[in-house]
Subunit: 215 residues, 2 copies
């Protein structure tokens, strides 16, 4: 049995871009086109950008709750505000910067380039684990880097619905019904980076085969 994974390189996605068309085009150019049996995995960030889900940090007015929590944890009140706005429940606050300063967490163990890590810490000195649409996210899935200067990226709500819309648009363009998975990278301090499937359409993500023989 053989499975092929193709990494498609897209140009920088901008608000209003037809992401489905960009993906179909990139698949044509770089992987011989979409085919029956393919499953498409799309980074949540690409969808956020296409949907224009970017916020200018300058425009964020932190609530009193956000200011308090930011003071306690050493985070940026505007970051905390955006995280709280985009989550259903706060589960855990990790004062990452404080843990580094007190020597409990060693930055050298978490980065190849300690200088860059120290700079990143200025923007990520507090990590909030939250519940959002029944899933656990660090910082509500909001990305405070990798966006245009001064902007942050918000993950789309209802990722299954977003996957469905993308799948439907790809069907319009190509006639093919390609299952879509939306993934997002999580960085948990001691565990490194890991991609999670956060939403999907056109496939059953969980096999429920208790008792079925597997040999």
């Amino acid at each position: 049995m053989k499975v092929e994974l193709h990494g498609l390189k897209l140009p920088e996605v901008k608000p209003g871009d037809d992401l489905a068309a960009m993906i179909v085009g990139a698949a044509e150019e770089q992987a011989g086109g979409l085919k029956p049996g393919d499953v498409l995995v799309v980074a949540s960030k690409a969808l956020s950008k296409a949907l224009g889900l970017m916020v200018r940090l300058e425009d964020v007015r932190p609530s009193r709750e956000a200011v308090k929590l930011a003071e306690k944890t050493g985070g940026d009140p505007r970051h905390v505000q955006l995280i709280l706005e985009n989550s259903d429940r706060l589960l855990l606050a990790i004062p990452f910067g404080g843990l580094v300063r007190s020597g409990i967490v060693k930055l050298e163990k978490m980065a190849e380039d300690v200088k860059r890590a120290r700079e990143a810490l200025r923007f990520a000195s507090c990590e909030l684990a939250v519940e959002r649409e029944k899933q656990i996210y660090s910082n509500a899935g909001i990305d405070f880097s990798n966006s245009p200067e001064g902007y942050v990226t918000i993950p789309p709500a209802n990722l299954d619905g977003v996957a469905k819309a993308l799948r439907s648009r790809i069907k319009d363009l190509t006639g093919l019904d390609v299952p879509v998975v939306i993934s997002d990278t999580e960085y948990w301090f001691f565990l490194g980076s890991l991609d999670f499937a956060r939403g999907c359409s056109g496939l059953r993500p969980i096999a429920r085969k208790l008792g079925a023989p597997d040999l």
Copy 2:
């Protein structure tokens, strides 16, 4: 960028088998042979079988602790004994059979074939989450099915070491230094089945790139 995954079909592995030679042979026949850049993912079970890590249930003498825990949770005392023997710490006991009988857990949601699931429950009416070599396993990674009748399969200890030995043997056979990952399937009731990397040799499993740009 393109990555290929090849699933290699091996014959049933028996104690004393040279698993490295079987894998090299299967790769030749089914995937054009091992090549530089390949990474080999091997199921922990195949290693257990090659290493003869099978125990006859009849020969297991449950301790008093195992008998007590089995009574409390509805498990088989011999299973409980083997799980305790093969773990460093008991974290959690889930009386799965009891949860099903009391209607809290619905078997129809967990299986396509409810009759088979009910039979499987006889052998798995209790699930113990344990710590083993700094990792969390359900039932210590012991498999009470998929073994010859009356036998259960124990996962090898020191999986990084086992991966290293397999990698070294493959190097002897082929001259190639192929990184090895040992994986095992976990079944957590509500989550479906998921494969975890449990040990490895020849690669760094965690990227520590805090602060590094990813665009």
